[in-house]
Symmetry: C2
Subunit: 486 residues, 2 copies
């Protein structure tokens, strides 16, 4: 796990925070938020909030009371305890791309399959920079729709021993995720023991998106009710592309994001007080010329920095950022847009980072090469955001005495003692001189990423899994698949 103890880059003045604070209060009070599930509206009504149909009008202070019940920090356990994570504080947790129907592999773009899903799980398992493969690392279009979630959770649970994200397509899918997680954490002694374990310490994080503006949809809410009741963490995430789901002004998008995320969090705390939540943000904008989503924009970076500062203001762990970009291929644009998002992600000290590896083409595509590029970015940023030791010894005065004026340090004792690990060592980047680079085939970074990807998959070792647990999972999947008619 990575702890980011570097300073946070904060750009909001207290005055600006006050304006934004007033803004979300006005929205929840005057416009209200729609909850397309009766139980949600009922919970708010019973707690004293005014409702009109499925719209809830809030007292902002009530929301803040609920928000206060959420833990500032919490653990999420992995089946390999070495891969358990802590959400909040200085910790940064990274998971791979999520939700893509398509795959890009080299020059080929095609529908994603279950085989891709498995291979992307294997990649996520292989790189320590990722704490999780995430959830829908790609959409396995060749698996039957009704039982696809079983295949995905099974792959995440068996091909990786890291934390994973639950399915949110429906309440029953969420329930299946929880059952399979109970089996996995039952230690071979049954799902009951597993239930106790994951209620004690959550084992999944699930993504609950708002149907922005200001509407929480029924299926997402169904999933949220399941997860929160089982004390599983949820990321309440306004899904904002400014110009489409929010006004074309960053402050307006930010106050909308606050209104949405905070009401979603309030609901979580009504379902189960104290249940773990993450303040979510997914904030970019529409390209007003093409009408397509833009990513890695200046606007999204500014929104990201503001989101971090506000989440800290409300005492909540937060999710934002990732390797976002709109590029159609793993080219220079994909790289600079990804870093234009990922570097602010670190500057903001983001606690949970989805889409940290593999995102391409506005999230329509999981790309193998982009996955490797992003892992390189994560490796670099982890070093960049590790505080430097500055003390007398670090000044290496003896090296200066040894080398003197106009000499070089290549053979100095200080260098010889440290040359193996004094600097960042790249995974993907090449510093080969031009002649050597040509001899090696004149491969650009994307071509080299293809090779690294293939090599990593060839060296993949499945993490050990107790036979009894695997059999129990197999049984559950087979039974549920039959029940679901696939």
């Amino acid at each position: 796990m990575f702890r980011n103890t570097m300073p946070r880059y904060e750009i909001l003045s207290p005055d600006a925070i006050a304006v934004l604070d007033k803004g979300w209060r006005r929205i929840v009070t005057e416009i209200g938020v729609q909850f397309a599930r009766q139980e949600a509206v009922e919970l708010f009504r019973t707690a004293g909030q005014r409702t009109d149909g499925d719209v809830v009008f809030f007292d902002p202070e009530f929301i803040l009371e609920q928000v206060k019940k959420a833990p500032r920090e919490f653990d999420v356990q992995a089946r390999n305890p070495a891969n358990s994570v802590h959400i909040g504080g200085d910790q940064m947790v990274f998971s791979a791309v999520y939700g893509c129907p398509f795959i890009r592999e080299g020059e080929v773009r095609r529908d994603a399959t279950l085989d891709d899903f498995r291979r992307l799980c294997m990649l996520s398992q292989s790189f320590g920079q990722l704490d999780s493969a995430g959830g829908v690392i790609c959409e396995p279009n060749d698996a039957p729709l009704d039982s696809r979630h079983l295949d995905m959770i099974y792959a995440l649970a068996t091909l990786t021993d890291k934390i994973y994200m639950g399915n949110v397509v429906s309440g029953p899918n969420a329930a299946d995720t929880i059952r399979m997680t109970e089996i996995l954490f039952g230690n071979g002694q049954g799902a009951d023991r597993g239930r106790a374990s994951i209620e004690q310490t959550p084992a999944t994080i699930s993504l609950i998106n708002c149907n922005s503006p200001l509407r929480w949809d029924d299926r997402m809410l169904d999933a949220q009710f399941e997860y929160c009741a089982a004390n599983q963490a949820v990321v309440l995430t306004p899904f904002l592309l400014m110009g489409a789901m929010s006004p074309v002004s960053i402050p307006a998008a930010i106050v909308q994001q606050l209104a949405e995320a905070l009401t979603g969090i309030a609901l979580a705390q009504l379902i189960r007080p104290g249940c773990p939540v993450i303040f979510g943000s997914f904030l970019s904008n529409i390209d007003m010329q093409s009408g397509s989503p833009s990513f890695g924009t200046p606007e999204s970076a500014i929104g990201l920095l503001i989101t971090g500062q506000l989440a800290r203001h409300f005492g909540l762990p937060f999710r934002t950022g990732g390797g976002l970009n709109a590029s159609q291929t793993a080219d220079a644009q994909a790289a600079y847009e990804a870093l234009m998002t990922l570097l602010p992600t670190f500057l903001a000290g983001t606690n949970f980072v989805m889409h940290a590896a593999g995102w391409l083409e506005g999230g329509l595509v999981s790309c193998y090469e982009k996955f490797i590029i992003d892992v390189e970015l994560l490796r670099m940023l982890r070093v960049e955001f590790t505080p430097l030791e500055i003390d007398e010894e670090s000044l290496a005065f003896g090296a200066h005495q040894e080398v003197g004026h106009g000499g070089h340090f290549l053979g100095a004792a200080h260098t010889m003692e440290r040359f193996r690990d004094c600097f960042y060592r790249p995974l993907l980047s090449s510093t080969a001189n031009y002649e050597r680079w040509v001899r090696l085939g004149a491969k650009d970074a994307t071509a080299r990423a293809t090779e690294i990807c293939a090599k990593t998959l060839a060296q993949y070792q499945p993490p050990p899994l107790d036979d009894a647990i695997r059999a129990e999972l197999d049984d559950f999947v087979a039974r549920r698949r039959t029940e679901l008619g696939d």
Copy 2:
């Protein structure tokens, strides 16, 4: 000109600054700095510093007294007053890549020529993101060596009307730069009037590199004496690739950088008290596996942030950063390494940014496509580092009232009023959907950059220049070329 009024990202504690401050003092006191020009040693000796051959041992307080004579901020005039710049404070001034012997244009890598030099000047003139084409934007290898500087200054002075950097190969080359600049600023009334004008307000910035470690070379010093005597700005720049020119520890490199830059600045103030200087930094590291220079590394980003903080500590305008990278082609690596340098360049509030466009392959190559990529990065970062207006109106409450729950803002009145300029509009990045992108030829960012470059050059308009001044420049170049034997 761009003013960066966003917060600075500072990572040094007061304790760390104290350690670093002690470090450079010890170096200049105990190891001293070598000056390979007798007049420099003599100036220091006369001013009371201990010398031994060409090594000067300093009283650190003496250095600080000299440094205090340097202006904290100053203007540099361009022949088009609209392009004059201010160095220091919140201002950021950008110049193109400098010093490359080779060119990459599409798939071709070859020796740079004078035609490349001119075309790169034309590109620099065309993009408002660049305040200067710089100086040696590429090395025109087909021009005679002895008089090449005349061709370069002539191109910079005539094809652009922005500020430019002087030649530093020798004292006579510097003198030629100054003479040509006097002609350019003589307003058709002769070089004397020009001399008065540029002595009043400098018109050039020249790069004086230290032959690190701890040695200032004779030819660079010859140039520095010429420029400082004429009140032309110089950037005193330690050239540090950690592992070769400095120890393999960032703090050690930083104190060396301080010792070198501050002694160079002290010399400038002895030559002409009050002459304009810039604290320079060029700090990266050797890849200890390949032995080649690395760029865009975490270490260079950390060094960059520290440099900014220390320059402010000493009250000096500073130069660092740029679009540095080690990549052999304008690929994903070139893009992410460039941004890994350029984003910290903005976070540090760098006053003068060399290599801001076109740098490839560790600075061996000026690349047309990379030039366009970098211009896109500069455009994005200028927006990202422009403070957001956050007030009641920016919250667009009316748009929420209009759109309500689950709707969209595409046709909202607030959007219609602002859609033209509400978001960053890219130069190079594409948000086209996949089908459209394929129809357009499936061009990656680099291929699109080739097209943008060609279009920009086709649309280039030379800035107007008084015929008398041009004739005077022509005469000077012809006369000097003959004198130099070419």
